[in-house]
């Protein structure tokens, strides 16, 4: 005859204290109990090094999602890309830049803080090749892949939307951050977030002859899957020669937030 044994009747020893607490702090966050293994892994966003962008995206580029940044000429789109790459490579991640327009200046990337040894520069000549290259790079395990579609007219058009959806799925499968920098909407519904960079004022230093000091821009969150949209923040970039180093502290913490009222008058 079988007797059901109630757990209360068993003299169980006291449950041992969680061993996690004995671990160093850096290790503690990475250790999961057996119960937690089946849960979907929390994906920490990838900090971009651009405070305004991190604020709008709530911590950085979401891993496993496609984020598209739109911007016209001189909106600061390339500078933003360089800062994102610099932040990732400085953190020890390998990153890839798919540069459709072949616009990168390696010396500027190094000056922006990119660890060039960790940066793979891919220079396709057609948008189809760019999409194929991105899929390969995501499959290789790059945690950050940036696609810069260059200037209009984009070589080969916007690419088919199915291709972008495929890339978004690949990024999700790999848990990688995929950033698309485009002059106009290209990725369609595949983008989990869309930000638009509007051109801001140009800073000219007028000490004798004019000297370019920097550019300003306005970053607006146009789309966020599952989140609020319409938020915006100011952003600025300075030239290396500019004596206007302040108010951008080293390393650049909080960027200059322009008075948004200036946007209307600009």
């Amino acid at each position: 005859m079988l007797h059901a044994v109630r757990s209360a009747e068993i003299d169980l020893p006291a449950f041992p204290p969680p061993a996690r607490t004995a671990l160093p702090e850096a290790l503690r966050a990475r250790v999961r109990s057996a119960r937690e293994i089946g849960r979907r892994r929390e994906r920490e966003p990838l900090p971009t090094g651009v405070p305004a962008l991190d604020r709008l995206l709530e911590g950085g580029l979401p891993r496993g999602e496609l984020v598209e940044v739109l911007g016209a000429r001189s909106s600061g789109r390339l500078s933003l890309v360089l800062d994102v790459l610099a932040a990732a490579t400085a953190a020890g991640e390998s990153a890839a830049l798919v540069d459709l327009g072949d616009h990168l200046d390696p010396s500027q990337a190094a000056a922006a803080g990119c660890d060039l040894a960790r940066l793979l520069w891919v220079r396709p000549q057609k948008v189809e090749h760019a999409l194929a290259a991105v899929e390969m790079l995501l499959g290789a395990g790059f945690q950050l892949v940036v696609v810069d579609l260059g200037l209009p007219p984009v070589r080969g058009g916007r690419g088919i939307e199915a291709g972008w959806l495929r890339l978004a799925r690949a990024a999700d499968a790999q848990g990688a951050a995929l950033l698309v920098s485009a002059p106009y909407r290209a990725s369609g519904t595949a983008a989990a977030a869309v930000l638009e960079l509007d051109r801001g004022p140009v800073h000219w230093l007028r000490s004798g002859s004019a000297l370019l000091g920097g550019l300003g821009g306005f970053l607006t969150l146009e789309k966020r899957r599952g989140g609020a949209t319409g938020r915006h923040a100011g952003i600025s970039w300075r030239t290396a020669e500019s004596p206007l180093a302040p108010p951008l502290p080293e390393p650049c913490g909080e960027g200059v937030d322009f008075d948004l009222r200036a946007r209307a008058s600009a």
């Binding site: 900090p47 090094g49 016209a72 390339l78 200046d105 520069w121 390969m136 395990g141 390393p251």
Partner: protein, 520 residues
Amino acid sequence: MIPPLGLETAMPRLACLAVPLFPLAARLRSEPELTREALAILEGNGQAARVVASTRAARAAGVRPGLSLPQARALCPKLAVRTRDGTCERAAQEALLEIADGFSPRVEDAGDGVAYIDLGSLDRRYPGAAGEVSLGRDLAQAGEARSLPVRVGIASSKLAARVAAGLPGSPVIVPAGEEALFLAPLPLARLAPHLEISGTLERWGLSSIGDFARLAPAEVASRLGRTGSDLHAIARGLDARPLVPREPPPSFEEGMSLEWPLASLEPFLFVGRAALERLCRRLEGAGLACLRLELDLGLEPEGHLRRAIDLPAPTRDAKTLLALLRLDLEAHPPGAPVVGFLVRAHPDRPREAQLSLLGPAALSPDRLATTLARLFALLGAERVGSPSPVDRHRPEASALVAFAPPPPPDVRPAPHGGRGLLGVRVLRPPLSIEVLTGGDRPAAETPLEVRPVLRDDGERRPEIRGSVRVASGPWALEDGWWTDDPADREYWDVELAGGGVYRLFRDRRTGDWFADGIYD
């Protein structure tokens, strides 16, 4: 009674791997679609060509070794015919040896589909008689995985192992010390088929190896000398021939002679893909990857084309290698029909990386190597790599170096902000424009007009047009004055009224204006 020598316990155990009908098996390994067809392998030229092996379907129709081609065709009109192919057989022999290498470091290449393995180091993994049976099955399975029908014989002498490998019911195990009994009923021709001594023994009235083994060793030595003495020992199961380990080859090869010349790329790539897949399987079995791929094409009516492809990192991805091969042949067509080919892989150890527990994840070297090779195939080597600054003043100058990222840090560093520097989109090549100036020396307040210079080359370029709102400059740039392509430029930063800040320059030698960057 065969006199014992008392040395049986000192004889090492050997396994013999033998591929029956080796010329046929090697051919079917390269053309597996012919396995169920009536196929005969011929050796010799013209009328002297004779069948040396045939498939089951051909044998069922009566095609036997020794028949001429007309005789074989008379028996089987639909008989497919291939000639013996040294390239195929070399590759199959290497594949057989690599199977053996997977089990023991001491392997002898006996040629023509035969290899010997020293089992001295395998007695722990395959202990006892049951272990030898298990080993024989594992060897046969490894052969099947490489498309080679391997038969296995295990004994303490080479001859006994070779004979056992030729018997049905593989694996055949000859217990230690029973080699003489095993060999005794065999005809003398099996002992030394290439020596005249077997004829002498037959004239003595001996018909089997057992008859020969029963003779007194001293009498045999006095009448037949050293050769006879050695054969006598072998007949008694005491094979004194040592196992001669082979040196692993420096490269891996696959190829075949084609039955008809191939004049276009696609059919060649079809057969080349199968060869590359076999090559990659062999590399994987050896724990290696391809760092350099060489292609040797035999051309009709004569001549060769040799191409070499250096890979950015070792890979064993057949699709990648095929894509690289396709691009190389499209760029360098052979110019004549192809009648045979050989692909040779120079191996290297796949890159390995130590995973980090706390730091960022490192890229898998194997996947990275494959990805880089595929990107090379897609875009070309000059379009993939790590950016590298060039020690020149021209903004458009850049260089690429091989992408080999250092290992990630052990602990992920704390994130920090970017430097906020303004970047410039470099326009490569510089965009030719027309600048209308208000005077000899344009100043910021001088009204300027920037217009694109239209070119009728079919490519759409970014357009720069508008009146100048602010101009800053000039800054002189002189670079490479000692070369054939000097640069003598006068740079301006201009903001156009319609928006956009551009970096323009005037070539001081020609007076032409260009835009080479957009502040962005």
